[in-house]
Amino acid sequence: MADYAKTFRQIGLALSAAMLLFGAEARADDTIKVGILHSLSGTMAISETTLKDTMLMLIDEQNKKGGLLGKKLEPVVVDPASNWPLFAEKTRELLTKDKVAAIFGCWTSVSRKSVLPVVEELNGLLFYPVQYEGEESSKNVFYTGAAPNQQAIPAVDYLMNELKVKRWVLAGTDYVYPRTTNKILEAYLKSKGVKEKDIMINYTPFGHSDWQSIVADIKKFGSAGKKTAVVSTINGDANVPFYKELGNQGISAEAIPVVAFSVGEEELSGIDTKPLVGHLAAWNYFMSVDTPENAAFITKWHQFIKNRKRVTNDPMEAHYIGFNMWVKAVEKAGTTDTDAVTKAIIGIEAPNLTGGVAKMLPNHHIAKPVLIGEIQDDGQFQTVWQTKSLVEGDAWSDFLPESKSIVAQWTAPINCGNYNTKTKKCSGQKY
């Protein structure tokens, strides 16, 4: 008898275990998983943690609206720890183990490049929310941040036309984004008749903190009697000592304005901004933009994060747009299948936060307005100029000889991210 009882108990255990498993399986089927691939530790945690929170907020909100295709969305958060190879590993984990429907993530270009082969191999979906250097278009990636023609070129136009700048300092941190952007800008400036001797290019290491000689050089370069401006692709962290040194050496925004592409509200919240007033930044979004959509977004953000002092910034808006586009595309396709969604998402429109509508283009970039703002003493920007209409993101720059004739078009008949309009061929090189 005792044996029977034992066997019964064993069967019962096995059954309940199986039921537990089944139950879990059934619940997993009820949700759509969304991968969030942002560093929560290491160097990039400073910028990326905010984006993780933004995604959690957007998913939470969508679930309150009833989820997607009748299912709840389930965020899967992983921490690639600012470690580029780990980005690729975590992507593989998200796509194979968790089977996420889409990934929202990456910040630096190098992390995106490390993720690219994995999402292409496993046919995943990546939404990349940060302004970047362009020269890329993958079938599996959607670029919701600005391409160079949506940030750098309009900023230079503003300086040239409105501020009558004649001499240019292109200062950047020494890695792929500043190098490519400066190459594009240099070609653009030369095409506008700026002479070689009126362009100064300077690169500094990551986290550079001793700016004395460089700022003295800029001062010298700027005292040649022509209006001078600095176009800065200096990476977030190194900006604080850079601006401090500018202030201390008495270079005001009126004498030599600095326009930055990597300095947003989040970066400014760690700086005493009084000496920076009047310096510029170019983005597609500012927290100070006065629209009902933006006010609602900021209120929601403050409620979600439970801190009224937290700021919003451009990459957050990019995730907002990207997420809404993905939701609409999934609804349109009726499935989260990658191929169906990539087909459905082209041409999808979603409201941006500055009062317009963003549209997903066939080259996997989006159309956005470009805003130039001046830094204020409260760490916010005051918009001083903006493009009259939306600017369409251009994957391959028209100002570089090697990418002039290349376009990306992920619709029939071309269906290629690297199509040469001269030779009419699709290059095997995907990125």
Binding site: T204, P205, Q212, N248, Q249, G250, A253, E254, G270, Q376
Partner: protein, 546 residues
């Protein structure tokens, strides 16, 4: 839509801005100042210049303060009635004062006001306009700024004002600035003698505008013709340019040395604590950078705890940071390192672990975002020596601070009881122990001293760079470099090593660029260590062999 201000008048402007300005004067309220003021609020940013000009054209004592407030970002309009007010930060809101009659209107929430914004172009206009209005101000510094702003656009009106001022000006600096401005204007005089006189007056002047203008006299136009037709004038300009350039070269060299010294001071501060723990005790402490980070965060906390006392916060932060970092250092020594003496590899790994632990701890407590540490007014700006040389004050004070810390540390090691014991243990541990020195306690205190100094260095760094969890990482390699270069176990070596590395780096930087300069420095040090493995000042005698 901004609220309209003076009823009828506001309506008029609204209508007319679509057609043309100026016809509406008859209907205005009679006070030209009030009308011009209202325009400030209504004009879009690209028409603000006209509004400012119009306001400046009115002879009224209230004009200058309004323009000054606009420039300083203190001018607001109240959303409910559109009144233009001065706003100054007060507790929970802004204290506002009506611009028109000077009545204090109490404290209101920031939300009820909207700032009247300006952009860069407008700021320049404002400064020039204010210059004209403030040329007769009582404060010489204010007059000097006024003259500088006016020099940017030397039209007839400005020149007349400057001429008139020169006769009554009493301050030597202001007079000199006016004379320079007038001479610059005279370079375009039609009379040849006047031009030569102006060049002579400008000889040796280090103002960058002067060199530009003189150089332009020597330029040729597209046809190969000199812009300046007269050869006498050109010759005399040539002489003046030469004299200015030779002086400039001298000051540039001085500037480079200062840059090098100040970079050196940072290196010395960062590495001097390590010189004690690594140099004297032989412990490879990878968490040294994080002890500096703790010091920087202490500065932040001190500033948060005593708002309103920004000017003295650093004086409180220095001892606080020393204590905190020293205590953490002693805890690390007692808790981990003492079990690992004589096993350098394990020590390295363990302290590296501690450094990661401290970083993540700070991330958890303070968030991964950088914290904003304010710079007191006495440390901002620069010490102007002349037009070509200006020493930035924060760097200058840190250089002084570094030397003070070094002197104090040297005194402690030379003169105090603990210093004696530290040196004794470093020279011969067994003998010191035999003499009754509690070596374990001395080890802990020595490590605490080195760590405390790292904390002090953190306070200095908080004034130069980001206060964030990664602060320490960026300095740890440099610190080891300095200690190894200077000679292990020698404080003077660290001082000289730090300064020479700083100066060498700054000499290389203009030619090689910041990235390559850093690499070259490392290569040079490797070569140097090959030649002299024990650094600049090697320890001599039996202690070195031990």
């Amino acid at each position: 839509m901004r609220p309209l201000i003076f009823g009828m008048n506001g309506w008029c402007i609204a209508v007319l801005s679509m057609m043309m300005l100026g016809l509406c004067d008859a209907a205005e309220s009679g006070d030209p100042f009030a009308d011009a003021l209202a325009r400030l609020n209504e004009a879009p940013l690209n028409e603000m210049g006209e509004a400012v000009d119009r306001l400046a054209g009115i002879k009224d004592a209230r004009v200058a303060p309004v323009l000054r407030a606009l420039l300083d970002g203190r001018l607001y309009y109240r959303k409910d009635d559109g009144a233009i007010v001065f706003g100054d930060p007060a507790e929970d809101g802004l204290a506002i004062v009506n611009v028109l009659d000077g009545d204090a209107l109490g404290i209101v929430a920031k939300f009820d006001l909207k700032k009247i914004g300006v952009n860069n172009a407008l700021r320049a206009t404002l400064r020039e306009t204010l210059g004209r209005l403030e040329l007769t101000a009582g404060d010489p510094a204010q007059r000097l700024k006024a003259v500088e702003a006016m020099s940017k656009s030397l039209d007839e009106e400005n020149l007349e004002l400057l001429h008139a001022r020169l006769n009554t000006e009493t301050d030597a600096k202001v007079s000199e600035a006016i004379a320079t401005a007038l001479a610059l204007a005279d370079l375009a005089n039609e009379d040849k003698a006047a031009r030569i006189r102006a060049i002579r007056a400008l000889r040796g002047n280090l103002n960058p505008d002067v060199l530009n203008r003189l150089n332009r006299l020597l330029e040729k136009d597209d046809d190969g013709q000199y812009l300046e037709p007269d050869s006498d004038v050109r010759n005399s300009a040539q002489v003046a340019v030469k004299s200015i350039e030779s002086r400039l070269a001298l000051y540039r060299a001085a500037e480079t040395v200062f840059f090098g010294l100040s970079l050196g001071a940072v290196l010395v501060l960062a590495s001097i604590g390590l010189a004690i723990t690594f140099g004297v005790m032989g412990v490879i402490n990878m968490a040294h950078g994080e002890l500096m980070m703790l010091g920087a965060y202490t500065t932040y906390v001190v500033q948060q705890l005593m708002p309103g006392h920004l000017e003295i916060s650093l004086f409180v932060a220095v001892p606080a940071a020393f204590l905190l970092s020293a205590l953490v250092g002693i805890a690390i020594e007692r808790g981990i390192i003492r079990f690992l003496y004589g096993r350098p590899l394990e020590t390295l790994l363990a302290t590296f672990g501690v450094s990661l632990f401290l970083q993540q701890l700070v991330r958890t407590i303070f968030s991964p975002l950088n914290r904003s540490v304010a710079t007191p007014a006495w440390m901002s700006g620069s010490l102007e020596i002349n037009g070509a040389l200006a020493l930035t004050l924060n760097r200058f004070y840190i250089l002084v601070f570094c030397l003070l810390v070094f002197a104090a540390l040297l005194q402690v090691l030379k003169r105090s009881r603990i210093g004696l014991e530290v040196r004794a243990v470093a020279q011969n541990r067994a003998m010191a122990k035999a003499m009754g020195i509690p070596t374990e306690r001395v080890d802990a205190l020595t490590f605490g001293l080195g760590s405390g100094i790292a904390g002090i260095a953190g306070v200095a760094l908080s004034q130069l760079t980001n206060v964030g969890p990664n602060l320490g990482q960026s300095y740890i390699v440099d610190s080891f470099m300095v200690v190894v270069f200077g000679g292990v176990g020698n404080l003077w070596g660290t001082l000289i090593g730090g300064f020479s590395l700083g100066i060498a780096n700054k000499l290389l930087e203009p030619y090689a660029g910041a990235v390559l300069a850093k690499i070259l420095m490392l290569v040079l040090i490797i070569l140097f260590i090959q030649k002299r493995p024990r650094g600049l000042f090697p320890q001599k005698g039996r202690a070195a062999e031990a």
